[in-house]
Subunit: 242 residues, 2 copies
């Protein structure tokens, strides 16, 4: 059976303006590979209702899962939850269990929930909460869409909470062989190797370290024995090019 | 006149597998803000011909410019140039000026061009080369699509070469005001401010440094006087919340 597929939708003007270097997609990409869910797309869009709704609908129909990052805080620029409700055509309102989580977290700091903070307890109808130990405000899953915070520490905690609830695939393993020659010297045997091994992906990544021009070859697949065989062939190629 | 818009299309399994943390889109996002081209989307897709063609066609019809990163080396997994030719419905072949650039760069290292390296001189019909001082292999522009290398040092050099050739917009300026209170304490005045100032975007980014919970407010727009006014109002809000 093929692995489930996924897309990550990152919502935030701060990424597109160059202010913030995106970190959450990189983290989740590694976690998805570990559990055997194949990440097929990462998309970054601005804080714009219609753009978010369109992206959600395109991605949720194309993939087993969509994970979103960002836009679920208490301020006017946090519009993700409403966009998700609109994409699914469902209502959204403050929900008691989400409100309770918020109240508990703030009470632990001696604070009451403000009207603005209460926005973070607005949950689309039919969603399941994604509870996390870092902040009181929950994320949520609805259909195949998992809505998480943009703050990296909270995002990581929400990923840890939601991934174990999803059906896993066959983990994608990777092996790496380092060549201290440029790509041009090994492109022909690599091409032959890739053609012989349709169930393994063979990626070629040139690097330069001082005067050394080299190439890292990364092979990925789900069958460890096949990867061993590919690595052995790569080592033979390396011995041949000297 | 509104600013030109742009999308960045990053092509590479190595990003989606979690192996590599994407760096080029972050660099280009900052450069685009500087020259007044509004970045509206970043999309990361795998090394898959049909997916690349579809993404190119969707993005080039929606934005003034599309910038791509990755997939133009000499190996079997470098399929971007062919996908671009297919998206535009034009032919692709080795071009003499591109071959000359490659030959010159390799000759400087005492090397001849191999058949595989010659793949990097394959240019879609009608494209303009993007020459760079780091590697001999050029990128190219065709229509509103600018095709650049994935290796970060080469990507940066190609961005430096291509951006001055594009019509600039009004640079988007940003100012930042730091609050040492959480978002929930300032969400109401921020909402009012954002509603009063439709030509300025007001973004709210919570942070935590040890025990300090704070919020960075980032305001962006093209009119420096308007930004000054917004910053003054933010400072008044900060004085009020103490």
């Amino acid at each position: 059976m093929p692995n489930p597929t996924a897309a990550i939708l990152v919502i935030g003007d701060e990424i597109l303006s160059g202010r913030t270097r995106e970190a959450n997609a990189y983290h989740l990409a590694g976690e998805l590979a570990r559990v055997g869910i194949d990440l097929r797309e990462i998309r970054v869009v601005p804080d714009d209702h219609h753009v978010i709704v369109d992206a959600l609908n395109a991605l949720r129909s194309a993939h087993t899962h969509v994970f979103t990052s960002g836009g679920i805080g208490p301020t006017h620029d946090d519009i993700t939850a409403d966009a998700v409700a609109a994409a699914f055509g469902v209502g959204i309102d403050v929900r008691d269990d989400a409100r309770q989580l918020l109240e508990n977290a703030l009470a632990a700091r001696g604070l009451a929930v403000t009207a603005d903070q209460l926005r973070m307890a607005r949950i689309p109808d039919g969603a399941t909460l994604i509870v996390n130990g870092v902040s009181g405000a929950p994320g949520f899953s609805i259909g195949n869409v998992h809505v998480m915070a943009g703050v990296p520490s909270i995002f990581v905690a929400m990923v840890d909470a939601v991934l174990p609830t999803l059906e896993a695939g066959t983990p994608r393993l990777s092996r790496e062989v380092r060549f201290e020659v440029g790509e041009g010297r090994i492109a022909t045997p690599l091409r032959d190797l890739a053609a012989d091994m349709p169930h393994v992906s063979v990626g070629s990544y040139p690097f330069r370290e001082g005067e050394v021009r080299g190439t890292n070859i990364v092979v990925r697949g789900t069958d460890p024995a096949l990867l061993d065989e590919v690595v052995a062939r790569l080592e033979a190629i390396r011995a041949a090019v000297g």
